[in-house]
């Protein structure tokens, strides 16, 4: 379904934010990117979304060259970016509105989704009235209702507290199961990556590059308790090791 092939260097001086990187993401999969801060995860997303033109290389979606074209994929930035002057409903239909769907039609279309995904009763409230988790849910719905086959999520749950985060993970998995889209997910939380993904790509920094591809072969649906199973722990340890994470040795301060 999708074949993203990216090879480029950003133009900011002689700074190579991304060494040539090639990623191939099959249709309908849930893929995670993990890696240290500054390794170019957001840059990859920007290139795929057409917001940054690669110095070299191409982006292929469904085999068609989509390099530098905007509006092809759903992109959820790290911040929820809900527009404070719009109601939740009007925030969620933004993507449709931009594409030219009449507002009334878009609203009618979106309303049942809000209802079903836990935002019922908040349609006409402003984002200020929502909790962090609800805001993330609205932002995610906005991305989904934009109706692209590919969805890029950049640390969507980074700012949530642990309990809310767990709820949101379940919710994301359900959405993903319902809609059958291709999801590319960035996170700093290795446990989250392993729990959610079909594939994990581990990146390294200076220059940004992919150093490993780890398929997660745990059966779905995965119960919460999976995190304590040896298979899960082994995968987690492997990822942490690849990230150069202090695993056992006493880490030096500073």
């Amino acid at each position: 379904m999708e074949d993203v092939s990216v090879t480029f260097q950003t133009a900011d001086g002689p700074f190579h934010a991304l060494a040539p990187v090639t990623l191939n993401i099959p249709r309908g999969r849930f893929v995670s990117l993990i890696g240290p801060s500054g390794c170019g995860k957001s840059t990859i997303f920007n290139v795929v979304a057409g917001l940054q033109s690669p110095t070299r290389g191409r982006v292929l979606i469904d085999g068609i060259d989509a390099t530098g074209s905007i509006g092809q994929v759903g992109y959820m930035l790290q911040k929820d970016l809900l527009l404070p002057w719009r109601t939740v409903l009007d925030n969620v239909i933004l993507g449709m509105e931009v594409r030219g769907v009449p507002v009334a039609e878009a609203r009618d279309h979106a309303r049942p989704y809000l209802q079903r995904y836990g935002l019922g009763g908040f349609e006409n409230r402003h984002p200020g009235a929502l909790s962090g988790g609800m805001r993330q849910r609205a932002a995610l719905l906005r991305t989904l209702l934009f109706d692209s086959d590919v969805i890029l999520l950049d640390e969507p749950f980074g700012a949530l507290d642990a309990q809310t985060k767990a709820q949101m993970q379940e919710w994301l998995l359900k959405i993903w199961t319902d809609f059958g889209k291709t999801v590319v997910f960035v996170t700093h939380d290795v446990e989250e990556a392993v729990y959610l993904s079909d594939d994990i790509h581990v990146m390294a920094t200076r220059p940004g590059r992919v150093i490993a591809h780890i398929p997660v072969d745990l059966p779905r649906p995965r119960p919460r308790s999976v995190v304590t199973t040896p298979g899960f722990v082994a995968l987690k340890q492997r990822c942490l090791a690849l990230l150069g994470h202090p695993a056992d040795e006493e880490s030096e301060a500073a």
Binding site: G50, G71, G74, L77, L81, W85, G95, E97
Partner: protein
């Protein structure tokens, strides 16, 4: 000096000295004063109002007495009792209402015109950074220029009627609105723009759906300042040429030594400006609620 892990250093007794210093700090040389959190209790509104009125009454009383005893020269300063009489005359003669309405009209027109045009101009800078850079020095020049210096020219262009007062009031509010709206444009969330572009939006969509709404709070914030500026413009316009209005009343009173009338006109002007200020504040809170902020 070679690097030794601090924990090891501590174990070696290396930290003894500073730790000892810690302990000392806690005891003798600077004894820890036990303090309580300073808490101020809010007075009830009635008390606040009472104090405010009290200050006014005392000030007016002092003035009257000082004028009586000659400590203040009532010739130059007038006195509250005379001002009160003049106030009555001013209202009885019917001038008060027509003068106030006249000044109010130019103020409101200038306010609306200057704010709208200025905000639109400021928003237009979003469209092109180069355009903004080219125009900027001209704006700065116009901003820092005392617009009142242009008064003689304004009469030439706009005549001596309503238009000249509205023009002055607009000129004063225009630049402030432009600069504020431009500041709003510069503060538009870059990530918001990225979100819109990632959805495939056109520039016009980004402008109407993102830039304009996010600048609304900025433009609202300037309303209160602009009311004062518009009033100044209208009054100065009347100083220059006018048949009526509070500005003319002040000018006339100044020319004929009716200091009491100067005070009366200034008072009416204050009331007018405070009324508009309150109205704008109310509008502001309504608008802010409207955008959910």
């Amino acid at each position: 000096m070679t690097l030794t892990p601090p924990a090891a250093l501590a174990r070696k007794g290396f930290f003894k000295a500073p730790l000892a210093l810690f302990r000392r700090g806690a005891s003798a040389p600077r004894p820890r004063v036990v303090r309580r959190l300073p808490v101020e209790r809010d007075w009830p509104v009635a008390a606040i109002v009472a104090v405010q009125v009290g200050i006014l009454v005392v000030a007016i009383g002092t003035w009257e007495i000082a004028a009586d005893t000659g400590w203040i020269d009532a010739f130059f300063w007038s006195r509250p009792s005379a001002i009160g009489e003049t106030l009555l005359t001013f209202f009885e003669s019917g001038r008060a209402v027509s003068d106030t309405l006249f000044t109010f009209r130019s103020t409101i027109l200038g306010f609306a015109l200057g704010t709208t045009l200025g905000a639109a101009f400021g928003l237009s800078f979003w469209w092109s950074r180069n355009y903004a850079r080219i125009v900027q020095p001209y704006i700065i020049c116009f901003e820092s220029l005392p617009k009142l210096a242009l008064a003689p020219l304004i009469i030439l262009v706009f005549g001596i009627g309503l238009a000249s007062k509205v023009a002055l009031a607009s000129a004063l509010t225009f630049v402030v609105s432009t600069l504020t709206a431009y500041a709003g444009v510069k503060a538009v969330d870059q990530d918001g723009e990225r979100l819109f572009y990632s959805l495939g939006a056109t520039r016009w969509q980004v402008f109407t759906k993102l830039v304009v709404p996010s600048c609304v709070p900025w433009i609202i914030s300037i309303l209160r300042v602009n009311i004062g500026l518009a009033l100044t413009g209208a009054v100065v316009g009347e100083f220059i040429a006018s048949e009526q209005g509070l500005g003319r009343a002040i000018l006339y009173a100044g020319q004929t030594y009716e200091i009491a009338l100067v005070w009366v006109a200034v008072m009416v002007l204050s009331v007018l400006s405070i009324t508009m200020y309150v109205a704008v504040s109310w509008l502001e809170s309504r608008l802010r609620r409207g955008v959910g902020q």
